[in-house]
């Protein structure tokens, strides 16, 4: 077991983990952050996408110990003070989800995409979401949601509470 200390959705956490534990398993099973889900075992689907220090990563693709000392934001920490992130709002507005299973990862990736490129073209959106699979929507309304978010305050917003903003516990 290895001790790790990190910030998840604005809260400082500390746990003993097996060195082989994937970040996604740590988030789900030890922290109860079940908003982040697992869709495959080959890092193709992107359902488990979270932000590590503000940049999207597939949390099945790194070990929990690699997150030691870092800041993780999951879908559960994206809204601030009860206000949905503009990308979350856009997915609802544009019907960018059906079963919702890919949605946490799709939203986290979209947030990152808009941070890198605040006003992407349709092609840039499609390429930027290539690592996230959805089986329900045919992507049509996901693309629209990202476009909508770009026009409605989602551009360049990382979202979520960061360690500096919350009082030390």
């Amino acid at each position: 077991m290895t001790r790790i200390n990190l910030t998840v959705d604005g809260a400082r956490v500390s746990d003993d983990v097996e060195p082989r534990t994937l970040l996604v398993h740590y988030l789900r099973e030890q922290l109860g952050k079940t908003g982040t889900v697992i869709g495959c075992d080959t890092s193709n689907c992107g359902a488990c996408t979270v932000h590590l220090d503000g940049t999207s990563v597939k949390s099945c693709n790194m070990l929990a110990v690699q997150a030691d000392g870092h800041e993780v934001t999951t879908i559960e920490g994206l809204a601030t003070d009860g206000e949905l992130h503009p990308v979350q709002e856009a997915f609802r507005e544009c019907h960018g989800l059906q079963c919702g299973y890919c949605t946490p990862g799709m939203i986290m990736q979209s947030v990152d995409l808009l941070k890198e490129n605040p006003h992407p073209s349709e092609e840039e959106i499609r390429l930027g979401l290539e690592g996230n699979l959805c089986r329900c929507t045919g992507y049509h309304n996901i693309v629209k949601a990202v476009q909508h978010a770009a026009e409605h305050g989602g551009a360049g917003q990382s979202g979520g509470k960061h360690a500096a903003e919350v009082p030390a516990s």
Binding site: T34, T36, D41, E76, E93, Y101, P104, N132, C134, C136
Partner: protein, 827 residues
């Protein structure tokens, strides 16, 4: 009594944002795998690596000794209490079907079958210990290729003596619904046109995003199963029927379910094993599959050879259509099993007035993963066959593919129309949908561009594909299902409960997994009862809350389940009427109900339905003999199927030098009757389109010659991404259904059913002038290139998959250019 109450705007037809979304976009969901119970144990399955083998020994001792392992079980540890996985649709009385034990003890029949289960305190420890289970196998020859299996060359189940499971036939002359197809074909051979083709419906994997998961809690009086399933009610029935637990002691819950597409219309070995282990140990257990396990052992779809003969007069009037199918069941006859191709049996004649029709389907057992419903289930296969054939007929005659369709289709004046397959189509307007689609698509302009490119000899050619589909959905009239020997009915149930505070709870028997029932049904109830949309709560997926239902598949939830909701709501109004009259001191005959209020005709006196709910709750002042409840149930059994249709137009660009294909434009105009929520409908259409397009261009479950699934991960099974697809242009024409109050038709499967032939027709159209009349699905660049360069249909995928695992193995396994893939699968 309040004199005024704000009347909500009409909800039906409104693009309401979904109620479901708040929890899904914030991660506050309850997927089955999220559930954690006190003392819960975790399961890992030990699976056969062989397609067909005798189990000679299973040594579990090392696994049992591993740290934190609680138990290791094989089928022998449970015996009959393990139950069996049932087939609910024996399509013929003499159907040959092997017994399907969830965990066989003597012989495995496909690679991925479970032979032992490990129970441990954590999922990781269970998986580690599963590696320690030592199973000895004697490998047996495996029946893999569908055509070879149909010839009984190798037996998938030696004890059965044959791989042929059932031969199902419909003949219009015998049924009295049309003429003799063989005579029509014979006549056409002398003085008409006969088109003969053989098409491959490749094997597909539903590939829902949420892997299947099951939790069983045996504590308490009821045994509770949470499962990522489309069918909680059928699951409860099957558990009771096969494991000896009374149905009243079983509670099944389908919580948030992450997609299904038919893939979660199953009762699975993993559910049965979890059930048995939890009962044995008296502790809650969880099993969640990996993606690889999901692709390997969750049921697959399609997998047919279609031999097709279409006869026509020289002017293009079709005189007969004969269909001979081989359908691969895989290793076992699954829940719906051979019923999947039979659901296509009535649809090969599609929107056309064929005078003679015959359908023959031989279902075949092989040593591959079992097959069952996948979005469309039987109808995509039928639509592909006829829409490819009508296009081939048009090519033979040198006319536009829309012209040949128009010559043969049912005109809108002819509805209701009884088809050669014996179905009565209630409504439709193929002319209107086609005209609108042509206009939106820019059909004439694209045809002109196509001509220009051909004349210029462009290396990138343009093809235009047409699919004028219809389908039968809304499963289904129970009487018809009975005639077809299906084991259950097709009714649906709903309960409307008026709470004391005037809120409305609606429990429905259909069980959503992404469709948006909570939103659409709330809209229906809001309009019907005149209450705010926000005041309606839709409850589903828990057999203790929605105690009756037949669940969600076959585009049935709105057209069958929604009608049950309407009828239950109407009963609430009728129960409220005498109470309203009593409170208003008026005669029942003088009351009108509108906008959620009963009013006395000609006065401003009125009472709202919410106030009546409160009055019933207190029950202080009710008329004599009236029960203090407005709550009402309804069970609706449709009298007919439901027949959406549409015209889909696809433009594909094909690089004739590389075989690369690119979708340029896709337009569809679907007639799905009246629309409850256009936003939800658009999502269903888009998603359906991509699944059908993916069959045409990308997806195939591929086995090697040892019976190993080589497309067993998302690295190898090609689901399309956002970067592979385009945005679509969709619209609707409206011919309301006449068989339900709201005039709705199903939309869940329409896109998938329609799009596959539209895409393949477009790809073939782009290169037909180069001598190509078919390209096997999926139309990979390699196949397209081969078809152009050797005028074949492009070869099989089996060979193409080899180099991934066998260096240098490619050439030997490739078909030689020019050989038709219709010679069979593995060569």
């Amino acid at each position: 009594m309040t004199a005024t109450q704000e009347r909500p705007a009409a909800e039906i037809g409104r693009d309401r944002r979904r109620k479901e979304d708040q929890r899904l976009i914030t991660g506050r969901t309850r997927w089955t795998d999220n559930i954690v119970l006190p003392g819960m144990l975790h399961l890992a399955m030990v699976r056969s690596p062989f397609a067909h083998a005798r189990i000679t020994a299973i040594d579990t001792s090392a696994a049992k000794q591993a740290t934190n392992v609680v138990g290791v079980f094989t089928g022998a540890d449970f015996g009959e209490s393990l139950g069996v996985n049932i087939n609910a649709w024996p399509i013929t009385p003499d159907q040959v079907a092997p017994v399907h034990s969830p965990m066989p003890t003597d012989r495995v029949a496909f690679a991925g079958e479970v032979v032992a289960v490990v129970v441990a305190r954590s999922a990781a420890e269970a998986r580690d210990a599963a590696e320690l289970v030592d199973v000895d196998y004697d490998e047996l020859p495996a029946a893999l290729d569908l055509k070879a299996a149909a010839a009984d060359e190798v037996l998938a189940h030696p004890d059965l003596g044959t791989n042929k499971s059932a031969l199902w036939r419909f003949d219009s002359a015998e049924a009295g619904t049309g003429g003799n197809v063989d005579e029509a074909i014979a006549k056409a051979r002398t003085d008409g046109i006969v088109i003969e083709r053989e098409y491959r419906q490749q094997r597909l994997i539903p590939a829902f995003m949420e892997p299947r998961s099951v939790v069983v809690d045996p504590t308490g009086e009821q045994l509770t199963m949470w499962s990522a399933t489309q069918i909680p009610h059928i699951l409860r029935f099957a558990l009771a029927a096969t494991t000896g637990v009374p149905e009243s002691k079983i509670r099944v819950i389908a919580p948030d379910v992450g997609g299904g597409f038919g893939g979660k219309l199953q009762t699975t070995p993993e559910e049965w094993i979890a059930w048995a282990v939890a009962r044995r140990l008296g502790k809650p257990v969880k099993y969640t599959e990996t993606r690889s396990e999901s692709l390997l052992s969750g049921h697959h779809g399609r997998d047919q050879w279609q031999k097709l003969t279409l006869s026509a007069e020289k002017d293009g009037t079709v005189t007969g259509f004969k269909v001979e199918l081989l359908a691969d069941l895989g290793a076992y006859v699954s829940l719906v099993g051979g019923g999947v191709p039979v659901l296509g049996a009535f649809m090969f004649n599609a929107i056309y007035k064929f005078p003679a029709y015959q359908f023959n389907c031989q279902t075949v057992l092989t040593n591959k993963t079992w097959t069952d419903a996948y979005r469309g289930a039987g109808r995509p296969e039928a639509t592909f066959a006829i829409e490819r054939m009508m296009t081939e007929l048009a090519a033979e005659l040198g006319v536009d593919p829309l012209e040949i369709r128009e010559k043969n289709w049912i005109t809108h004046e002819e509805f209701p129309f009884t088809t050669v397959a014996g179905l009565e189509y209630d409504s439709g307007n193929y002319e209107a949908a086609t005209a609108r689609a042509k206009e939106l698509f820019g059909y004439d302009e694209l045809r002109a561009e196509q001509r220009r490119r051909r004349e210029a000899g462009d290396t990138v050619q343009l093809g235009i594909g047409v699919s004028t589909f219809t389908e039968m959905c809304g499963l289904a009239p129970s009487r018809v299902l009975g005639q077809l020997d299906y084991g259950a009915g097709g009714w649906e149930h709903a309960s409307v409960r008026m709470t004391a505070t005037g809120k409305v709870e609606v429990a429905v028997g259909v069980s959503p997994h992404g469709q948006g029932h909570e939103t659409a049904f709330s809209q229906i109830v809001a309009d019907r009862l005149g209450v705010p949309f926000e005041d309606v709560e839709i409850l589903h997926g828990d057999t203790q809350i929605s105690h009756k239902g037949l669940d969600t598949y076959g585009s049935r939830s709105l057209v069958v389940g929604g009608e049950a909701v309407v009828r239950a709501a109407d009963k609430v109004i009728e129960k409220a009427r005498p109470i309203a009259a009593h409170l208003l001191e008026a005669s029942v005959d003088d009351l009108e109900f509108a906008g959620g209020r009963f009013t006395v005709r000609g006065t401003d006196q009125g009472v709202g339905i919410g106030e009546l709910a409160t009055a019933v709750f207190t029950a202080h002042n009710l008329p004599d003999g009236v029960e203090p409840s407005l709550d009402s149930d309804a069970t609706f059994d449709p009298v007919n199927f439901n027949y959406p249709h549409g015209t889909h137009l696809c433009a594909m660009e094909v690089d004739t030098e590389t075989g690369q294909v690119r979708m340029r434009k896709y337009t569809c105009v679907d007639d799905i009757g009246n629309i409850i929520n256009p936003l939800i409908v658009s999502g269903q259409v888009h998603g359906g389109l991509v699944q059908g397009i993916a069959q045409a261009l990308w997806e195939e479950a591929v086995y090697d010659d040892a019976g190993t699934l080589v497309s067993g991960s998302f690295v190898d099974y090609l689901l399309p991404t956002a970067a592979d697809t385009i945005s679509f242009e969709i619209d609707h024409t409206t011919s309301p259904a006449t068989t339900n109050t709201l005039g709705t038709k199903g939309v869940g499967e329409a896109g998938t059913i329609a799009s596959t032939p539209a895409v393949v027709n477009a790809v073939v159209d782009a290169v037909r002038h180069l001598g190509v009349d078919d390209i096997t699905m999926p139309c990979t660049p390699e196949r397209v290139w081969r078809a152009i360069n050797a005028a074949g249909s492009g070869g099989t995928t089996e060979g193409a998959a080899m180099p991934h695992f066998e260096a240098g193995g490619a050439a030997g396994n490739q078909e030689t250019p020019g050989a038709s893939s219709t010679q069979g699968g593995l060569q």
